[in-house]
Symmetry: C2
Subunit: 305 residues, 2 copies
Amino acid sequence: MSILVVGSVAFDSVETPFGKGENVLGGSATYFSTSASFFTDVNLVAVVGEDFPQEHFDFLKSRNINVDGLSRSPGKTFHWKGKYGYDLNEAQTLATHLNVFEHFKPVIPAAYKDAEYLFLANIDPELQMEVLNQVRKPRVIACDTMNFWIASKPDALKKVIERVDILVINEGEARQFSQEANLVKAARTILDLGLKTLIIKRGEYGVLMFNGASVFAAPAYPLEEVFDPTGAGDTFAGGFMGYLANTGDTSEAGIRQALIFGSVMASFNVEDFSLNRMKSLGYKEIEERYRSFKALTHFEGLPSL
Amino acid sequence: MSILVVGSVAFDSVETPFGKGENVLGGSATYFSTSASFFTDVNLVAVVGEDFPQEHFDFLKSRNINVDGLSRSPGKTFHWKGKYGYDLNEAQTLATHLNVFEHFKPVIPAAYKDAEYLFLANIDPELQMEVLNQVRKPRVIACDTMNFWIASKPDALKKVIERVDILVINEGEARQFSQEANLVKAARTILDLGLKTLIIKRGEYGVLMFNGASVFAAPAYPLEEVFDPTGAGDTFAGGFMGYLANTGDTSEAGIRQALIFGSVMASFNVEDFSLNRMKSLGYKEIEERYRSFKALTHFEGLPSL
């Protein structure tokens, strides 16, 4: 099954202690789509400006991402500028130029309206709602958000969450949104809005998933070189949703495997700037790292003493 | 096999957002011993003052902890005063009164010198070395330390580490000691001192273990109520070493199981102030939580797409 994703396609200027990238390809929908494309077909809805080069369109197409919904508007492409210190969990935003994104109104092409898998990347919750109002009956809807929307549009965000199945947010955002310091209590509060699944991203510490009554913890893959964490969360979501869309298996076992594939994809993405690592990545490597995650976490059952 | 532990027995005054305890039983060796006592016999070497009540001696004895090496000196017992905010990973030390601990010279009773399992809790590395010089040939030696010794006595600490098998430290301490921001690189640098195993504690995020060429990640148990994280690290170490001493199994599989038992014990300890939770804990509960850790982390192997 194909996935529909609505979000941002952007230029990023990123500085980390290990190097920098100027005006490189970025954006939540870009990272998500590229990651998901290793598992399934992706339909991308976003907007770019006149300055968005053909080379990037070509890259997305080469990954089998349908860009019929990627419209070009007069003006400049969304530009994010950020910096990371040695604590790669936290980006410092230096500048956000919304540009053409400022007046973005997502229009879902007719051919995408029957999407069975939908990912609402981090955009204004009012726009996320507009997307929900244009699609028919997706089997699985997941969404992301950020601290800015939690603070500025909590009610609109709540209405979106009430209509989605899976929410993917950061640890700090979960605490902020629920007003609970304890993460398990925070999760319960958010799940009570009607979610089936809540996935809490903890950066280099991995992911905690609350799925009905079950809780699943997966570490991040311990890497010797982390160059650029930009897009790790969207890359995670892309691997997760991509695998779900590929298999259609939303059982507890299936959703846990999906979460590991998401973690695998994120672990590759941080190894280089922008989407560079995705460009060289092959499926054999993905399988190999899935096995490494198993080796990293496996232990024997209860011994009798 | 029994374990020998050398460390502190103390009074703690602890404040958390959820309550406080004044002059409650604490100390690294106390937490370690109590936790380990669920798995094996423990011989405790430490010092207390004249103010240390019989009730605490009785508690330790009731846990089958041999206190022949717990000497009483003129003066007051070591007293630590600390405070936690909502970020329960980090204690703020308000006061440290070493009292009788200031002139503590560990003397290992003759009956303990053939100890096969030795834990050097967090004390001055010069004292840790004195302990090493008094024991004959332990099969497994583990040690802990803290930022204060890393900063003030790095050379003495290095000499200790060169003689132990297992080092158990915090994430921040691993970075501080190795001068490496990346945790995997930090671990490699520390392992190069000659350790077999390095266990890095990450508070509510769990534990990362480097054992030879293998890496193992275990989450902390997600709890709805964390009252007091004091002693969690020593309780972890107690469960870990206690299980190892019980089984003698230092294979990769055995050491991973030991790490989960350590995590289980720590997860109980933080549920109440001081050692209160340990006082009510039963082995059935430990087994039950071990199974919960398995359920929390298990996922199926690589699927074929």
